[in-house]
Symmetry: C2
Subunit: 147 residues, 2 copies
């Protein structure tokens, strides 16, 4: 209830209904969200355009980070406190379950360093692991794929 307010304030952004609502969705979500997940969420009625602009603003201000995918989609997930505008600090591994399609931030698994050939100067590294999550291999798996 108060948390979104603080995050937006800290980022120097106006505190609007849309932004609070979308932040809420991220807090409630068990994994990363795509634009479509937000737009099509049942209990929400925010214009597509506003969703686009909000996500962009949040990325630019270090509130959420992007996760690359291989399906013409971008996933977004909440940043940790350490992220700042322009300079993200979340080089953790992302895990995409190929069964339920849920994407987890493995906040405790850092992306390992890797030695690049001469001439390539790294700025940021992403690591995406595809596989199966525990829910999808347990005796009582999720009945349906998520996305």
């Amino acid at each position: 209830m108060l948390q979104q307010f603080e995050i937006l304030k800290k980022a120097g952004l106006s505190v609007t209904e849309s932004r609070k609502t979308i932040l809420d969705l991220f807090f409630a979500a068990q994994g990363a969200l795509a634009h479509a997940d937000i737009e099509k969420h049942s209990s929400i009625n925010i214009d597509r355009v506003t969703v686009y602009r909000t996500l962009q603003t949040f990325v630019e201000n270090g509130i959420i980070h992007q996760i690359p995918t291989t399906d013409n989609t971008i996933l977004y997930a909440l940043c940790k406190d350490s992220c700042e505008a322009g300079h993200h600090h979340d080089e953790h591994v992302h895990f995409i379950c190929v069964v339920c399609n849920k994407t987890n931030c493995l906040d405790d698994v850092m992306v390992p360093m890797v030695k690049l050939p001469n001439g390539f100067l790294p700025i940021q590294t992403a690591m995406i692991v595809k596989g199966t999550c525990i829910d999808c291999r347990s005796p009582h798996p999720q009945p349906f794929p998520q996305r």
Copy 2:
């Protein structure tokens, strides 16, 4: 001239003009290609739909592989010989230059292993490094961004 023919034959695919032409593009390219790069290539006149279907077929048959991105796009690059239908074998690092936007397969840089928390069973791992390439830091940089 003969190479595309062999690749298509080996994959058990019909050898068609479109497929040979698109394969040519990949051989000529200095980096990975997006759908749009192919569709809009000057010296080519293949229907959008055919490009979609060709890329899909090539991926399914281990001729090209996908590279995840963070801009509602999928990049594609030629596979090495070791790739087979259904089972790709190219867990190498990909480098995206943030200046010229060229994407390189670093074929010799393997994606490092990483220990996951309990319950996450990995199948495939991707690693994308963003940074600047040598061309874009040399005294005579590329005049214009590519994409």
